[in-house]
Structure formats: structure tokens, C-alpha cells
Symmetry: C2
DNA sequence: GAGTATATGAAACGACTGTTTCAATAACGG
DNA sequence: CCGTTATTGAAACAGTCGTTTCATATACTC
């Protein structure tokens, strides 16, 4: 009485492949037909599994975010390290060449968020969660109980330098700037 | 023997109107037909004046950049002010609500640059020039002769905080972070 | 094999894109 | 008015887009 069994793995498999594709090709010009061809499937099936392109994109962004946080967690949460060491480690991880696709997608989503906020109901979440785990690493670096300034500043430096790096490609100059920031952080506040 | 005279002002007029439109509507989904209708002209005329959509976009970006630098120059180059005062002034100017469209376009172009570098032959120029004049304001803030680290860091902080502000809208927290950075800068490097 | 539920291909739909073609209009000098 | 040059409108072109429709194929239980 039961017909053909559904394949629940297929959707997840497609999400993973589509995420690879989006990381490689970008999100802006994403189109179902080329995507389907690259994945060896058809636009018909993509819509069969996801209902609409928007839901596919949402799933892909969730997967990309998941990958980013995962590798970040396991990668480098130095426990008793100094601020400078933590900063350097994170910058090394963030600015690595193999992370470039993630950085690009990160900025691409941010731009799309500014243009179409309605597409991202979990407002700041979509973009900030990527950096959320990072923020935790520097949670102890506060000058007071409810000091959000220092973590915010650190995140801004990382994001701003990543912006610079992706634009200019000048790894040396941006890395020196991070070292300078680390030195400033070590100094006691006057 | 000479026919109808050409109207050289028309193109500039259209560029200004189109720039207003792009600042308001964004660059990502820009389309000739809606743009033409909003400007009271036709796609035919836009292509007549600019040859292609790409050239129109290039002209619009140049105009937007021109406006940004212009208002920045006249706005607030404090001469003998302290670093903190300069930082605060610039952040006040950058983060002002009426600057939001520029910020959005700024990040939109950056994302597009990462996806299609070939469209921006003057590589870093397209995006960086917007911040170029700013950099000059802090040119004296170096620890050595060829210290690019400090200006780079300052620009990163401003860009990163602007990124945060446009995403979250939390003006108070981001402004506090800038104050924290200003305090760090005042401290002597140990 | 019958019945049934899932999966999938082929094609079409309507709307949109940047751009081109062709013809018409408008402003000028002689 | 005529010739000439600039400007413009209407329509078509060739393509892409997300999505839907319809029919078919596949895998499963009984």
C-alpha cells in the first residue's frame, strides 16, 4: 500500500553541492539552470526539493554558516592565550587564502541584506552569527561589567581588515595593521 | 549645413538623476526600463547617451564617488585637532543617517567587485578612493617613516564599525566602540 | 501484475533583460 | 523650403529568469 520510498538524503546532498557551487561562483548571479547543470540535476528537481529558489538560497546560506562556525570552533579557540596570540591566530585563520570564498559570500550577503532586509527575517543573525563565535573568544576582554565596546571594536577591526584584504589583496599591510592593533590592546588604558 | 545642435548637458543631467535613483534603490537589481521611467525618459535614450548599461553604471559610480569625496572634503578636515577629535568628527559624518545610502552603495560595489573584478579595471580605486581622502586626514599618525599600519588600522576600524552599524543599526554601541578605539590610540605604545 | 506514492524529463508560460532596427520628429543653417 | 544632424518612440530581437503543467518513469507493498 506504500509506494516508492522518499529519499531524505537527496535534499541534504543537493544543499551541500549547491553550497560548494555558491562558494565558488558567488550568490549574486545565481541561476537555477546553470546550477542544476553543474550539479547534474534539473531546475525541476531543485524546485521539487526546495519549493522555490529563495528557500534553496536560505538553505545554502545556513549550510555555509554552519561550515564556517564549525571549522572556526574546532580550529583555534586558544584557552589561556594572550589577547595578541588570540588575535593573531584568528586573523591567520580568517585571512587564509582558502577562506576567501567564505569572505566573499559574507560580504555578498551583507550587501544583499542592506538592499532587501525582508529576505532575512532573523535580521542581524544571518550575517552576525558568522562572527558570533569569534566574539565569544574575546568576551573576557572588557573594561567593565557591561562593556560591549571592546568586543565590538575587535570585531570591527577584523571585519574592516578582511574588507581591505579582499579588496586589495595586500596581506602584508593588513597583517601589520592587525599587529599594531594587538600592540594597542596590550597598552593600559590611560 | 549644420543640423540640430547636440545637448551636452543632457548626459550629465541624466547621470545626476540616475545617481539619485541608484542611491535610493540600490545597484544590484538596477534595470534600464524602471530607471528610464523614473527619470522620465526611455531605455532607448539611456543607451543613446551611454552606449551600454555598464557605461551608465560606471558614470553613476563616478558621480557617487565624486559627491562623497566632495562633501567629505568641505565637511570636516580639522587642522590642528587631536586624533580623538578627528576620529569622532569623521565617525559622526560617516555614520549620519543621511549617509546611509552611500554606505549601502559602498558595500554593494565592494561585493560586486569581489564577484566580478573585471568590471573594475582601476582595481582598488573604485572602492578605496571613497576612503582615500579620509586616509589623508590621519597621515601624520604614524610610528615611523613608512608606517602604513596605523592608517590602515584606522580605516579598518571605520569600515568595520560602519559595517556593524548598517547591519545592526545600533548606533550607540558602535559609537562607544569608536570612543574605545580613540582612547587606545591616545595611549603610548609600550 | 495491480496499486500507489515518489521522482523526474520536456516543454511551455509569462515576465523580464540589454540591445538593435527602423522610422519618425525636431531643431538648426543656408 | 531644403539639407543635415541630433533626438526620440515603438517595436522587435534573442536571450534568461523562476515557475508550472503534464506526462512518464521508477521503486515499493501487496
Amino acid at each position: 500500500m506504500v509506494g516508492r520510498r522518499s529519499d531524505p538524503e537527496r535534499r541534504e546532498r543537493v544543499v551541500r553541492q549547491a553550497t560548494d557551487y555558491v562558494l565558488a561562483q558567488g550568490l549574486a548571479g545565481l541561476s537555477l539552470r546553470p546550477l542544476a547543470q553543474a550539479l547534474g540535476t534539473s531546475p525541476r528537481m531543485l524546485l521539487y526539493d526546495f519549493g522555490s529558489k529563495q528557500e534553496l538560497v536560505t538553505a545554502v546560506l545556513a549550510e555555509a554558516r554552519r561550515r564556517g562556525s564549525e571549522r572556526l570552533m574546532q580550529g583555534l579557540p586558544p584557552a589561556g592565550a594572550t589577547v595578541q596570540e588570540r588575535l593573531r591566530d584568528i586573523w591567520t585563520w580568517l585571512s587564509a587564502r582558502e577562506r576567501a570564498p567564505y569572505a566573499r559570500l559574507f560580504f555578498e550577503v551583507h550587501a544583499d541584506l542592506l538592499a532587501h532586509p525582508e529576505r532575512y527575517p532573523d535580521q542581524a543573525g544571518a550575517v552576525t552569527d558568522w562572527f558570533g563565535p569569534l566574539r565569544a573568544v574575546f568576551a573576557d576582554l572588557t573594561t567593565g561589567n557591561d562593556d560591549t565596546a571592546t568586543p565590538t571594536l575587535i570585531m570591527a577591526v577584523l571585519r574592516g581588515l578582511l574588507f581591505d584584504l579582499t579588496t586589495t589583496g595586500e596581506r602584508e599591510r593588513t597583517t601589520l595593521a592587525l599587529e599594531r592593533f594587538a600592540a594597542l590592546l596590550r597598552a593600559p588604558t590611560p
